[in-house]
């Protein structure tokens, strides 16, 4: 085995109760935990900017309070709250006078909230969407310093051009969701509909893929002005129409950094791969061992090998326990683009390990050999320094882990 190069790895950890950092020594043998930052706040995503390691952004919420974003320009030493967090446009104030420019059907639609009590209310409150939580953060294209994208629930997409201080709606995406049946739900399955996996083609800043849980994956080639579903081949066995163009449930989609035409997807209904310009996903999870199945949340690719990827299966049977299948947690690896998968459980609990790993809570570093890390629903961070073959518990007793990002310090 090659000796690790001299890089300290820092893991940025977002949890249900605050943020932490876990930093290694130069050979990744000892780890130092720091934090918590913002104890008690829900940190859905904690990211570093690969274009500028001093730039970090956190998507946050508190149990009683609305969503917000914090950003740092000095590698996490100090933080500021966004002066304008992601928010949908204000709906027009309602009045008692009918708007002559509105059709009857539009007026009926706009008053629906009053009847359900969910949106709009008496006495001047407004219809219209409100961001419930900021779930996802993606640094922008290499050519666009300061640009980040955010994904929200209900499904929405937002952009900042100043490193996280002020955010504006990506109107093309948000209008597409609002005007498409079933893409603007709130409080659906656990966690509800969420925008996630915002992927930017390193060859073209205008070419992006975005996914919505219980919504599907969508592509734009004009910087978000227009969108096209790209879900052919993905199963949706929970829907009455399995051939629907969207409505699928991607859990996590990743673009290979060296071959942006190769996408992998961990879906509610299996593991998939697509090689653009193909328009149809292939279910590579069919090649997983049957006892593990191919349900899970995260999927991680090897940054230098387009055919290598890792998943962390969970129990998706019957009522969806969302625990490690059989109480025996394991990482599964493919080295051939999903034609075959190999179980790795060395160091992990051999039995009675009933945790799982959420969609942003698994990542790789860029060191040699590659380090692979995952955080669990019971607050443990596990790391592999041999490219996913064996694991050590790096820290335990943290709150439920929502996201892990690795950066070389």
């Amino acid at each position: 085995m090659a000796k690790p190069q001299g890089n300290r790895v820092k893991l940025l950890i977002g949890t249900r109760k605050g943020a932490f950092t876990l930093t290694s020594d130069p050979v990744r043998s000892t780890w130092n935990l720091e934090g918590p930052l913002y104890l008690g706040h829900i940190v859905h995503h904690y990211m570093v900017d690969p274009r500028d390691a001093n730039s970090q952004v956190m998507a946050m919420k508190a149990g009683h309070l609305g969503p917000t974003v914090f950003y740092s320009k000095d590698a996490g030493k100090t933080w500021k709250e966004s002066s304008k967090p992601p928010q949908f446009p204000k709906a027009p104030e309602k009045s008692g006078t009918p708007d002559p420019d509105k059709s009857l059907s539009e007026m009926t639609e706009s008053t629906k909230g009053d009847q359900t009590g969910k949106e709009g209310s008496a006495d001047g409150a407004k219809d219209g969407s409100a961001v419930d939580l900021v779930f996802w953060l993606t640094p922008g294209h290499e050519s666009q310093p300061g640009v980040w994208y955010a994904g929200t629930a209900p499904p929405g997409m937002f952009i900042t051009t100043d490193g996280g201080d002020t955010w504006a709606p990506v109107d093309g995406f948000n209008k597409y969701c609002e005007t498409s049946d079933g893409l603007h739900g709130e409080g659906a399955t656990p966690g509800g509909q969420l925008t996630h996996s915002i992927l930017i083609d390193p060859r073209d800043a205008k070419h992006m893929y975005v996914s919505i849980s219980v919504g599907g994956t969508f592509e734009t080639t004009d910087a978000g002005a227009t969108w096209t579903p790209i879900n052919k081949g993905i199963q949706a066995d929970f829907l009455p129409d399995p051939d629907t163009p969207y409505g699928h449930d991607p859990h996590f989609v990743v673009m290979h950094p060296q071959n942006p035409d190769r996408l992998y997807q961990q879906n509610h209904c299996g593991i998939y791969r697509i090689d653009r310009p193909d328009a149809k996903w292939v279910r590579i999870g069919d090649n997983m061992p049957k006892e593990a199945g191919d349900i899970g949340f995260p999927i991680v690719v090897h940054p230098h090998d387009v055919d290598r990827a890792w998943v962390f299966p969970m129990d998706g049977t019957e009522v969806w326990p969302r625990t490690s299948p059989g109480g025996r947690p394991a990482v599964y690896e493919t080295k051939d683009g999903g034609s075959s998968w190999h179980r790795h459980d060395k160091g992990l609990p051999a039995e009675h390990g009933y945790f799982t790993v959420k969609r942003q809570a698994m990542c790789a570093d860029a060191a040699v050999p590659l380090g692979l890390y995952f955080g669990t629903t019971c607050g443990e961070v596990w790391g592999s320094l041999d490219e996913g073959a064996s694991y050590n518990c790096l820290v335990r007793h943290l709150p439920e882990i929502y996201s892990i990002t690795a950066t070389l310090d």
């Binding site: 009683h64 917000t68 002066s83 204000k90 409150a125 407004k126 409100a130 961001v131």
Partner: protein, 86 residues
């Protein structure tokens, strides 16, 4: 007028549990609070001017349902984070 700030929002008020703010309505009061303590309003009121699910505002011990509720200068306002969850 006197405004009582609940503990989850005191990071904005530098720890103060009581602050002064003015306004002829709850919305104006919250705007004045936001001027003094940037960001505090959006944590309580969403972009459609609706109170967030776990926020309650009391004026002189009476709960108000809308930010359009009127205020008088002698009123006392309590912002409450509803006890919920675990």
């Amino acid at each position: 007028m006197l405004v009582h700030i609940p503990s989850p929002l005191r990071s904005y008020t530098k720890g103060a549990s009581k602050v002064d703010a003015d306004g002829a309505s709850v919305d104006e009061l919250l705007n004045h609070l936001d001027k003094q303590f940037p960001g505090i309003k959006f944590r309580m009121i969403d972009e459609q001017s609706r109170m967030r699910q776990h926020i309650k505002i009391f004026v002189n011990k009476e709960t108000v349902e809308t930010v359009k509720a009127p205020l008088k200068s002698a009123d006392e306002v309590h912002i409450i984070c509803a006890l919920s969850g675990g």
